[in-house]
């Protein structure tokens, strides 16, 4: 019996394991224990979604469901050092690096000595007496609807929390380095992030995902909850550069208060199977939400981006731009839903998904969905999937640019505008570099 089935059937050993996690923090916070137990119940009734499930049509979780994972545990020893972590630094020398190794904060590998005033970063232990922060934990991403959120909620033992006080503008980028260190047995890593941006605060968070070393299969089961307070501005990037074998299921829930702004970029370059579930709720008026994504795939990579932009209130703006370059036998999925609720009059919501297929075996399934229940709104969506423009290619070659260079110039031009919107210059340059490395690795079929 595999790990997941065991959790699902609530076999004694695994329920005990989950209860150990629950009790670990339960002593100081019985409310959390109660939530974890609800999540356990939700998971055991739902189980892992199969491909028959509409929202999981293209991503096969069977291999995840059938693998006999060991769940990362608080007792695991940690291997990463500071110098290991340095190679994953994306936003300049002064950036704060917070290393989360196999789901647990690795303080020794992190660089967190110069945290600006008004910013706090730590694990759940550091925040147990902060009732305001704790009230957000486990409450935004819904485990009732999503089995993988339920699994995360019952198993994550060490949520990482970032809190920025009201009116604090933090120029230092906070980078959360999620380093997966594969071991002898397949490893399931439930990691959790809570970001609380208080009123009028502004800062940048990067989540980067890496495979450090090699070994048995790994599966990241990540849930991030981002609470954007009144008139706060949050810049966020998710950088997925894991190894060829890595599996990655990600939930990202943002809740936006009045007059707030958030800009989220998801860059997916690595991993065997990556599923991103983004849920941005515009929960009050005058909110601006930007949601950008870029995926560049080769070999047999599978990426599935499911996004939901949830306009709950009037006078808000959202703009979503997703682009993909897909080579070899890779497979991309984009399912972007804009939901304009009845109260959300004067909504402006835009969405675009553009894809380049580089080979005959590459595929892309894109499904824009608009659900509009208000009558005075401006919404648009568009999706295109095509090949590199032969005319443009010939034009470049006719000027002396070799075919390979011409192709990579065009691929770069296609993808770069997603990254150009990243505000922090150092981060932008790092992401551009990661993009170019990946582009040069693409198997180009003439």
């Amino acid at each position: 019996m595999s790990t997941i089935t065991k959790y699902q059937t609530a076999s004694t050993a695994f329920v005990q394991e989950a209860e150990v996690f629950a009790d670990l923090y339960g002593k100081s916070n019985p409310a959390l224990t109660a939530i974890r137990k609800q999540a356990m119940a939700a998971f055991s009734s739902r189980g892992i979604p199969t491909m028959k499930h509409e929202e999981w049509k293209y991503v096969n979780l069977t291999s995840i469901a059938q693998t006999d994972y060991r769940t990362a545990s608080p007792a695991d020893s940690q291997k990463l050092s500071k110098s290991d972590a340095e190679q994953y630094r994306y936003a300049g020398q002064d950036a704060i690096l917070c290393v989360i190794e196999n789901g647990k904060l690795n303080v020794a590998a992190s660089s967190m000595s110069d945290i600006p005033k008004g910013v706090r970063i730590g694990s759940i232990d550091d925040f147990s007496s902060d009732a305001a922060v704790m009230s957000h934990l486990f409450t935004h991403a819904s485990f009732e609807d999503e089995a993988m959120v339920a699994l995360n909620t019952m198993l994550c033992y060490s949520p990482i929390i970032i809190k920025v006080d009201a009116k604090v503008k933090c120029d230092t980028v906070i980078q959360l380095i999620f380093a997966t260190v594969p071991g002898v047995d397949p490893l399931l890593i439930p990691a959790r992030v809570l970001v609380v941006a208080e009123e009028q605060s502004e800062f940048t968070v990067v989540e980067s995902f890496h495979t450090h070393g090699s070994g048995a299969l790994t599966c990241n089961n990540i849930v991030s909850e981002v609470v954007v307070g009144k008139a706060a501005r949050v810049h966020y990037a998710k950088v997925q550069v894991e190894g060829d074998e890595a599996q990655h299921i990600n939930y990202h829930k943002v809740n936006m208060a009045r007059d707030s702004y958030q800009h989220l970029t998801t860059l997916t370059l690595g991993g065997a199977i990556v599923r991103n579930n983004l849920n941005i709720r515009l929960d009050d008026e005058q909110v601006n939400a930007y949601l950008n994504g870029l995926y560049v795939l080769n070999q047999k990579q599978v990426i599935d981006n499911h996004t939901l932009v949830d306009h709950a209130m009037p006078n808000c703006y959202s703009n979503e731009l997703y682009k993909g370059i897909i080579g070899d036998e890779a497979q991309g999925v984009f399912n972007g839903k804009i939901w304009v609720r009845e109260d959300a009059q004067k909504t402006n919501a835009y969405q675009s998904n553009k894809n380049l297929l580089l080979s005959n075996q590459a595929s892309m399934n894109t499904k824009p969905q608009l659900e509009i229940y208000a009558d005075d709104v401006k919404c648009s969506h568009g999706a295109t999937t095509g090949q590199l423009d032969d005319e443009a290619l010939f034009y470049l070659r006719a000027r002396g640019i070799g075919e390979t260079a011409a192709r990579s110039l065009l691929n770069h031009a296609f993808a770069a505008d997603v990254i150009e919107q990243v505000e922090n210059e150092k981060l932008r340059e790092s992401l551009m570099q990661l993009l170019d490395v990946k582009l040069s690795a693409l198997q180009i079929e003439a």
Partner: protein
């Protein structure tokens, strides 16, 4: 410099060039005129190496090399330049970055070190004047949102930057108003240096008032059926192509 012998080419199974002969010597300007569908643009495309065109026979020698055996980029590096009839828009690639890449690829093929940014900017500034182009145009994406005239000026600007040995202008005058025509022609004339050769493909004699050719050829049904000097262009302007067609019919 360029010697085309009995060139035959087809596109999508349709034969367009039927045994074309042409010789261009260093410094010469050859105008190629002809009615619609006579094969003028096909000739330009075949010389530049467009892959949709299939060469079925004949030879093209450029500076002693077999041009037809070379990739489009190798032809460009060897000094062939095609000014496109319909320049392509390339969003996301700035004109300056595109040209710098092109110039350095050409230099690399000649074993020259890449041009540094300062030198490149200096030369770019100089050449921009030739076609009265402003700086903003070099920062914009290649041809994106350019007017018809701006696109053609950009072609001549690229030509000036790449300094080809042989330039083929494919209906560069089409769609240009008189001011743009003057600017484009001035740019071309400034690049005539006694060694650089030009093949100017056009429908209209008007262009040849500005770019004065040494020879004028009439292309009809994929062959050059008449050659002469610039006076031939004036005659064509006056009398149209029917008399040529009749001559050909009689000859056949």
């Amino acid at each position: 410099m360029l010697r085309i012998k009995n060139l035959q080419a087809s596109v999508e199974g349709k034969k367009i060039l039927n045994g074309l002969n042409l010789e261009v010597k260093p410094g010469e300007v050859h105008a190629i005129m002809g009615p619609n569908g006579s094969g003028k643009s096909t000739l330009a495309s075949v010389l530049a190496g467009r892959e949709e065109y299939e060469v079925e026979g004949g030879t093209v020698q450029f500076l002693g090399n077999d041009l037809l055996d070379m990739s489009p980029e190798d032809r460009a590096r060897a000094g062939v330049f095609l000014a496109f009839q319909y320049p392509v828009e390339i969003p996301g690639v700035s004109n300056a970055n595109f040209l710098k890449t092109a110039v350095n690829e050409v230099r690399k093929s000649r074993n020259l070190a890449p041009m540094d940014s300062k030198e490149f900017l200096q030369i770019m500034k100089e050449k921009m004047k030739l076609v009265e182009m402003d700086k903003a145009m070099t920062q914009r994406s290649v041809n994106e949102g350019f007017s018809g005239g701006e696109k053609k000026r950009n072609e001549i600007f690229q030509m000036a930057m790449l300094e080809p040995t042989l330039a083929i202008l494919d209906e560069t005058d089409s769609g240009l108003d008189i001011d743009a025509l003057r600017i484009v022609s001035n740019g071309v004339n400034a690049l005539r240096d006694g060694n650089r050769s030009f093949i100017v493909i056009t429908h209209y004699q008007r262009l040849l008032d500005y770019i004065v050719p040494d020879f004028v050829h009439v292309l009809y049904k994929g062959r050059i059926v008449k050659s002469g000097t610039k006076e031939l262009a004036l005659e064509l302007e006056e009398k149209g192509y029917d008399w040529i067609k009749e001559e050909v019919a009689v000859g056949a």
